[in-house]
Amino acid sequence: MSAATAFFSRTWVRWAVVGVIAVVLIVLPLIFDAPTNSTLARIGVFAVAVLGLNVVMGYTGQVSLGQIFFLGLGAYVTAYGVNEGWNIVLVFILAILLPAVVGLLVALAAARLGGLAIAMVTIALPIVGVPLAKRLSEFTGGSQGTSARFSSAPEWTGLYDDQWQLYVVIAIPAAVFVLTRNLVRGKFGRAFAIVKENEAVASSMGISPYRYKVLAFTIASAIGGVAGFLYMVVIQYTSPETLAFHHSITLLASMVIGGAASILGSLIGGAYYVLVPQLTNIIDPNLTAVLQGAILLLVLFILPGGIVSLPRLWRRSRGGRGLGSPVAAGAQTTGIATIEGTRASHAGDYASPVGSAPAVPPVTGPESGPTDKSPSPESPEKRQDT
């Protein structure tokens, strides 16, 4: 191990780093101006949304194109509760609970049917969600949306609104991130990983793919609900536009660009979601589409594993002992292209008929050459968790 890695693995250093980060997070909102704070707050909101997507898609390998629906649902629940005058803690709990229940029901139905069904059902959620939000206008305010202003800084703090909102958006996501990190590092995370690799193997080991898929999906929905609550804290307005399908696609792109199956990658993904449109606006507001497409392609071209794989790339280019070949760098999944089903590793039911089985349990091994489409066994330690 290099000297740097040795340094950072000492306990006291780790605690010191955590302490420094905590201090920085407390102080920065007081220094930055309102637009910067509001941008950081928005990054927090979408980092949580991407994190939820990562739980079900990055870690467990199930295609979900409906994450934005749960964010929207959480936002609507929050708006409704606030406007009805309910206690904010109750509203927060509901904003987590309702999306979780919906996610649970959806998963219970779809998870038995395989990857394509889950993909299709998750696509259906935002697509049907938008006209539904318009129809249920007593609860949602219809197509004009609803405003709910409730996140002004309380008097006793003496803070500006944007600072207060940023603190909320630092505190709650920090808790969510820590909880999720513990989840994916623990036995649930290992179960998710095995379900993702090969469902037949998982069930032969006594891990029910069905149950863990449902669990992952429910957790992802709950996290989406939290993101929705935070969305209302920062934006204070929601409309059917909030849960439009194309946002789900952008969330997916953000997840991949940040780094799939990575906690830090979710944060980077959230930053991507928020900053790239603003960046392209600064460059040329008339060319935002061209620039966004170009940036996405450029980043993925250089870093197919997402931005979170940058240290690995850097280490390898300096001649250190890298972990894995360029193709698999950061790509923690098996890369089987299939004919039936879009994603063998995710669907589990569909796989290349001539594909080779991954080793059980997965072991660290040398990467197969770039011309090989067979699955590359990777150990869980290779997954990027920070």
């Binding site: 193997v201 696609i249 061209v290 996405l296 004919i339 039936e340 879009t342 569909y350 011309t371």
Partner: protein
């Protein structure tokens, strides 16, 4: 009764628009194993290219042929220089790359030709024929016939020709394919090129009624994906039938089930898919694949 038949015919016509895109998606998937989210965008770019040829004075049919040729090379180039890097890696990443490609293509079209709705002439006249008491537009008939022809061609290609077999072999197992002497790289390019041609034809067919804008095919993309999943990723016939079913059932549900109405009719294809997948997980016409452990 007249309304019913009219709705069915209209549904078939709308379904043909979805089918056009769905066929291109199936082709790319069969040839390279990817789901190409940018298929619609590439079709739109081809339509714009045809439009440009029209502006330069070419007659319509020649403009379309020219755009088809340009599209073939465009598709091949995109595969070689962009997608090649991601084909062996994480499928999620490949999908996101196609999403980025879609955004880029849309942006480029808007940059060159603006966001205004451009009028694209149709290969067929704007007349209608009464059939069974319903009024059917010649354009719909023309579009549907062309889609049928493409569907037959694709089916024949995959099942009956050496090229089709080679394309599928490359997608299933490129290593074995290359050991058998197949030029894997070139076949991949051909696959994408053919799909681009399909997209060009589709774009030229639907542009007259949708008007040419950079986002022209965005609405159809979700329906096309639904048709692909419902019909089975491996079957051209399947996706066309699925697309028609979606178009027709949507219309009927909207009109005859007042609770659904025209705003929630979009739920119909998804419910349909759900039901079908419970019974046949590989889609209506797809091939069942067994997993070896």
């Amino acid at each position: 009764m007249g309304t019913f038949i009219q709705l069915v015919i209209d549904g078939l016509s709308t379904g043909s628009i979805y089918a056009a895109l769905a066929l291109a998606i199936v082709l790319v998937n069969q040839a390279t194993g990817l789901i190409n989210f940018a298929q619609g965008g590439m079709a739109v770019l081809s339509a714009y290219v045809a439009y440009q040829f029209l502006q330069w004075g070419l007659p319509l049919i020649l403009a379309i042929i020219a755009s088809v040729i340009v599209s073939f090379f465009l598709g091949a180039v995109i595969e070689r220089f962009l997608m090649r890097r991601f084909e062996r890696g994480d499928p999620d990443t490949a999908i996101v790359v196609t999403v980025g490609l879609l955004t880029l293509i849309t942006g480029v079209c808007a940059w060159i030709w603006s966001y205004n709705n451009l009028l694209f002439p149709s290969l067929f006249p704007l007349d209608s024929i009464p059939i069974l008491g319903a009024s059917v537009s010649v354009r719909s008939i023309g579009t549907t016939l062309v889609i049928l022809a493409i569907m037959v061609l694709l089916q024949v290609l995959f099942v009956g020709t050496k090229l089709g077999l080679a394309l599928r072999a490359v997608a299933i197992n490129p290593q074995s394919a290359s050991y058998s002497g197949l030029p894997v790289g070139r076949l991949l390019m051909v696959g994408w090129g053919l799909a681009a041609i399909l997209g060009a034809v589709a774009g030229a067919l639907v542009a007259p009624s949708l008007t040419l804008t950079p986002g022209m095919m965005d609405g159809a993309l979700v329906y096309a994906l639904a048709a692909v999943i419902l019909g089975g990723l491996s079957s051209p016939v399947g996706v066309v039938v699925a697309a028609w079913m979606i178009g027709v059932l949507e219309n009927l549900a909207a009109v005859y089930v007042p609770f659904i109405g025209h705003d929630l009719k979009i739920a119909v294809p998804f419910v349909l898919i759900f039901v079908v997948l419970i019974v046949r997980p590989q889609g209506l016409f797809g091939r069942k694949v067994v997993v070896r452990v």
